[in-house]
């Protein structure tokens, strides 16, 4: 054993890829071929997952709550739309980055208002900012198209090579790749000293300051990054649907996002992605079954999750795969 008593080994082990993670992404890739008639809903899952990942970064890691995350989603969506309509940036990936940066600037500017104060004031300030932006978009309807939304969004081929097809295959693969890249970045960040310091701040801001962590600077940084992610999610939405209307800023969008994260669980990165899949499947199921009352059933599921607890549900769901896993490892052990 080296001089570090295995400290390096143990801490790197925590950040290593698990089998579950590999399986998750293999399933996501498999979806391209297996669900070839459901690209639209898959695409929605992908950008919603990215959007939820963005909320997870501030809520699950830094403990900042938000009821107005749609503000950044909306800015990203409109930015992508405007860039395409006016032909400013034609290439989708470049436009995506520009749109993300627009949201990031707003995130940085508003972070100073959000990070100070209690959770309640965070909820109110974030909610207020999203409502404000919605009204601004409404007011400047000559730019944003007002209630009708932006008209005439046409998205160029990605890198000039891949055109968006009407079945949405290219759109889905595009969203999945962007999601995966940004997920890798988020994964890197949460296992870094920076990411760890966010968890320390969420646990106990006073103690975090007492070991020399610059609390406010860290919170501003992660809030800004989260806004960038949300902006990208919004831009993906616009690029894959050719839509940008006032509802990108809506309160329901921010509230649904919290729901997604509650369903999937915060603070381990996959919660937002799993939550997005489950949420969209439930929404789809309930709305085809009972179109008027699907929100009732979603609400019921939410109450059940909170009452039963995600841990217990997870154990129930994972019972069979875990059993199979254990059987397999014991089999392979006895074989060798």
């Amino acid at each position: 054993m080296s001089a570090d008593h295995g400290v390096g080994e143990v801490s790197l082990r925590r950040a290593r890829w698990g089998h579950g993670e590999t399986a998750f992404w293999l399933i996501a890739i498999a979806a391209i071929f297996v669900f070839s008639d459901r690209y639209l809903i898959l695409t929605e899952m992908a950008w919603l997952g990215l959007f939820a990942l963005s909320l997870d970064l501030i809520l699950g890691y830094a403990g900042i709550v938000s009821l107005g995350h749609a503000a950044f989603f909306g800015v990203g969506a409109y930015a992508a739309g405007l860039l395409a309509v006016h032909g400013i940036v034609k290439e989708p990936i470049l436009a995506l980055v520009v749109a993300g940066c627009a949201a990031m600037v707003l995130g940085f500017a508003t972070s100073f208002l959000v990070i100070r104060g209690s959770e309640l004031s965070q909820l109110m300030v974030t909610l207020g900012i999203a409502l404000l932006l919605r009204e601004l978009a409404n007011k400047f309807s000559d730019i944003t198209g007002g209630f009708d939304g932006l008209q005439g969004i046409v998205i160029d081929p990605i890198l000039g090579l891949f055109s968006f097809d009407i079945f949405g295959k290219v759109g889905f693969i595009y969203c999945l790749v962007v999601l995966f890249v940004l997920f890798l970045l988020a994964r890197l960040i949460v296992h870094s000293p920076f990411g760890l310091s966010l968890r320390a701040i969420r646990n106990n801001p006073l103690r975090a300051a007492a070991i020399g962590i610059p609390v406010n600077r860290r919170l501003i940084a992660i809030y800004t990054l989260s806004a960038f992610y949300a902006g990208i999610a919004g831009a993906l939405f616009t690029q894959t649907t050719a839509l940008a209307s006032l509802d990108v800023f809506s309160f329901e969008r921010s509230a649904d996002l919290l729901l997604v994260l509650v369903i999937g669980g915060a603070g381990y990165l996959y919660g937002g992605l799993i939550g997005a899949v489950v949420f969209r499947v439930l929404q789809d199921m309930f709305s085809s079954w009972t179109p008027q009352f699907w929100q009732f059933w979603i609400g019921l599921v939410l109450v059940l999750i909170v009452l039963i607890g995600r841990e217990r549900m997870y154990r129930g769901v994972m019972w069979l795969p875990r059993l199979a896993m254990r059987r397999m490892t014991s089999l392979s052990r006895s074989a060798s």
Binding site: D4, G6, S11, L188, S192, L196, A210, I211, I213, P214
Partner: protein, 250 residues
């Protein structure tokens, strides 16, 4: 002479409540100094003033001759003034390894690194290991702090403060609430603190104070009553009056 830590006419009022009155403390470099006083004497306020959690209404705080009265909490930590907390203020879902890793990374200027994982810098790892070993935490380094026995958590509390490499350490009742069976480990850790670190101990437990301190300041109603060697303080009639008057508090 420059003191490791010095307060000059420190004053704090909360509304009509005068909690710190014209307090001038001088703590020599390398000292084992204890701050004692009956309940409500204002000891916690003094810690909060020294560490920068609250700002004084008057007076100055000097760290190794430099005025730090206007600095933030984390700026004081970087200057070498750290504290432990009376009630554990640890990160319940982080492991001791991660907890110490944070403090070490932060001090070595790697705290803002977002592009590489904790554990990828050899010098940080070695320092984490040394700290964990010194405080007997190696065997539990990968368990969530919230699940550790109370005594281990108290050790981690001290280890965390030491990991910031303080030049002056404020120990706020290090053995408070620790079961008798785990007490000796805490006392040994306190006794084994590096000599070059100046320690200000804030404590109720007189056994600990008189076995540890080479100098004692007695705080009563926010003002300094007596300062001297343990012997002088033990035989001071004013101190006796305060503590006898308080009864079981001593």
């Amino acid at each position: 002479m420059t003191f490791a830590l010095e307060t000059i006419g420190l004053d704090k009022q909360f509304g009509g409540l005068h909690v710190t009155r014209d307090l001038s403390l001088k703590i020599a470099a390398g000292a084992r100094h204890a701050l004692i006083g009956p309940n409500g004497a204002g000891k916690t306020t003094v810690i909060n003033l020294l560490t920068g959690v609250i700002k004084p209404n008057g007076g100055k705080i000097m760290l190794e001759g430099a005025d730090i009265t206007g600095l933030t909490v984390q700026a004081r930590v970087l200057r070498g003034l750290s504290r432990t907390f009376q009630i554990n203020q640890l990160y319940a879902d982080l492991t001791p390894l991660e907890t110490i890793g944070l403090a070490v990374s932060e001090r070595l200027g790697h705290g803002g690194d977002w592009w590489r994982r904790l554990g990828s810098r050899a010098n940080v790892n070695v320092e984490i290991a040394e700290t964990l070993e010194r405080f007997h935490l190696l065997d539990v380094m990968n368990e969530p702090t919230g699940t550790l026995p109370y005594g281990k958590q108290r050790l981690l509390e001290i280890a965390l403060a030491i990991a910031t490499k303080p030049r002056v350490l404020l120990l706020d009742e290090p053995a408070a609430g620790v079961p008798q069976s785990e007490r000796h480990e805490i006392l040994a850790a306190v006794a084994g603190l590096p000599r070059e670190v100046t320690v200000l101990l804030i404590e109720h437990d007189m056994d600990l104070v008189f076995s540890f301190a080479d100098r004692i300041s007695v705080l009563v109603s926010g003002a300094l009553l007596v300062e001297g060697t343990p012997d002088e303080v033990a035989h001071d009639p004013r101190v006796k009056a305060v503590y006898l008057g308080e009864g079981a508090d001593a």
